[in-house]
């Protein structure tokens, strides 16, 4: 499970209301979510997410269970999320749609290259390799399949 991208640095306590505001939830059109992702945090951010790895602080994705938050990030082109802390439901949601999430404290410089490998459990940026909190084999399997929907499809 290898991935890479350019760093986009964010702070602590980025909640799911900030990732995608409640006013955009009443649709099934994923492009709407990608278009308005982070709008209340920084309206210019959505355009910088293509090929980005988000690097954030504590409690990333806290708040509402809305899965539109992880979908919005993936649809906007985010390839992975690294944060020193990730809220529980957000973590499960990301795994369930096949979006790599990693808990790790790393320094962040906007635009810096980031590489990661979940199987080997590391993330690399700014010339330093950091070891990740390991995730369970089951979560890794779901991620590798591309999400829980794919796991079910393959089972059929």
């Amino acid at each position: 499970m290898y991935g890479e991208g350019r760093a986009v640095c964010l702070g602590d306590d980025i909640n799911t209301d900030l990732i995608i505001a409640g006013r955009y939830l009443r649709t099934k059109d994923r492009r709407v979510w990608a278009e308005h992702v982070f709008e209340d945090l920084d309206p210019g951010l959505a355009d910088r997410l293509g090929g980005a790895v988000i690097i954030a602080g504590r409690n990333f994705g806290c708040g509402s269970s809305r899965e539109q938050a992880v979908i919005a990030l993936r649809e906007a082109g985010v390839t992975g999320i690294v944060a020193s802390g990730i809220a529980r439901i957000f973590f499960r949601n990301a795994i369930n749609i096949g979006l790599p999430v990693m808990e790790c404290e790393v320094g962040c410089r906007d635009g810096a290259g980031v590489r990661f490998n979940l199987e080997e459990g590391w993330v690399e940026t700014g010339g330093r390799r950091h070891m990740l909190h390991p995730i369970s084999p089951r979560m890794l399997d779901i991620l590798k399949a591309g999400g829980l929907v794919e796991v079910w499809r393959q089972r059929k």
């Binding site: 209301d17 899965e67 802390g85 809220a87 059929k156």
Partner: protein, 408 residues
């Protein structure tokens, strides 16, 4: 097995991964849409356990526009076709509906909503998940969990009016912080809990997720059994705590707890109401899965009864049951006479969808559980408080410390 309540219900020690049958699964009009979509993409067309599945319309209820209406229509049709339990608009907020005689002690409960931890008040293991996870639960009737370690929250003393369970919940969130219990469970114990009504315990457990916790639990005791007997469940057994090991323990003394408030825009920015007293407000909101229960409305009515509110005030009963009780006791009329508007049971303005959305620069004092930036409307600011503080403030139009004489 012995252990914390979470370990006992999930049947394994903290840190282990387990597969568990889900006793009650539910989603609402909001999360139901994506759940359905995920289920279809999985190629699953039959819900594994319709008798253990609940779909509850509460978030935008009744629908605010035709887009919402259309999405709700699909979920409603699905519920009918699958034969799952369905609660139509007006039935109430999912967590309250599930709390009215559905969830029982010792059960594993999974809801597609972050405040599903509310049902831990019954001594159940209840937690929130996202839509795809819920689709997996509907498809198989079970899911995986990592058994959480537990922080014991020991409540000593008793809260006396005007201090109420919401102040205890805010104190807990303030102490632990918004991520102080991530991946962990909170176990509320002590005389502060035994002296608390079921409504109060539901308020307390509701806000467990505001500390990042996976679940918040109270042991089922006499109060729990009596409450459930009121819904026709006889012979429910109380749960007796084991001598077990906790990851951490914090104590909160309720006897000297002041009325508290969470100031914009963080739920763990908690201070005494005193500190922000005099702040002008544009709206008061009493309701939600935190504080829209009968005891809450009763407390609110006792404050505004025979008086007039000085600021627009929206009151939303958490369920039809609550509404019927309020009607029966005459407090509905008192609340309306005091100048408040009472909206149909549901989430109401809590998520900023309708019935009390804030405008740019407006300030709301709310009894809800989240004060995130823009949640109730772009440019609005939210203070979170108890019902007593909300009532006292509604009468003055500014944030006001509730006094004994307010609660009559």
């Amino acid at each position: 097995m012995r252990g914390t309540l979470a370990e006992r219900i999930l049947g394994a020690p903290a840190g282990e991964y387990v597969d568990r049958r889900v006793d009650r699964a539910f989603c609402h009009d909001g999360t139901g849409v994506l759940t359905l979509e995920a289920l279809r993409s999985m190629g699953v067309d039959v819900v594994a356990c319709p008798d253990r599945t609940y779909i509850i319309f509460d978030h935008i209820s009744p629908a605010n526009n035709s887009t919402t209406s259309g999405l709700q229509h699909e979920v409603r049709e699905f519920a009918a076709a699958q034969g799952v339990h369905f609660s139509e608009i007006g039935g109430g907020i999912c967590h309250q509906v599930m709390s009215e005689g559905i969830v029982l002690p010792g059960e594993v409960v999974v809801g597609a909503d972050s405040h599903s931890c509310t049902m831990g008040a019954f001594g159940a293991f209840a937690t929130g998940v996202g839509a795809t996870d819920m689709a997996g639960v509907l498809a198989s009737g079970s899911t995986w969990f990592r058994v959480p370690s537990t922080i014991a929250v020991v409540l000593t003393g008793r809260a006396a009016p005007p201090v109420e369970p919401k102040d205890v919940a805010l104190a807990c969130v303030g102490r632990l912080g918004a991520d102080g219990a991530t991946y962990q469970a909170l176990e509320f114990t002590g005389e502060g809990v035994s002296g608390m009504s079921m409504d109060g315990r539901l308020t307390l457990c509701n806000m467990a997720v505001e500390t990042g916790a996976k679940a918040g639990l109270c042991y089922a005791d006499e109060t729990t059994c009596r409450y459930l007997a009121g819904f026709g469940h006889q012979g429910i057994e109380a749960q007796v705590p084991d001598d077990c090991s906790y990851a951490d323990e914090i104590g909160i003394d309720l006897s000297d707890l002041p009325p508290l408030v969470a100031v914009p825009h963080d739920v763990d920015s908690v201070c005494e109401v005193e500190r922000v007293a005099g702040t002008p407000i544009d709206q008061v909101f009493v309701g939600t899965c935190t504080n829209g229960r009968y005891e809450d409305l009763m407390r609110f009515a006792s404050i505004v009864r025979g008086r007039k509110v000085a600021v627009r005030t929206v009151v939303v009963p958490a369920s039809r049951g609550v509404l019927m009780q309020a009607l029966g006791a005459g407090i509905y009329a008192e609340i309306v006479e005091a100048g408040c508007v009472v909206c149909p049971p549901g989430c109401g303005p809590c998520l900023g969808a309708h019935m009390g959305v804030l405008g740019e620069g407006e300030v709301c004092l709310s009894t809800a559980n989240r004060n995130f930036r823009n949640r109730m409307g772009v440019g609005g600011a939210i203070y979170l408080s108890s019902v007593a503080t909300a009532g006292a403030s509604a009468l003055t139009g500014e944030i006001t410390v509730p006094e004994d004489e307010h609660v009559r």
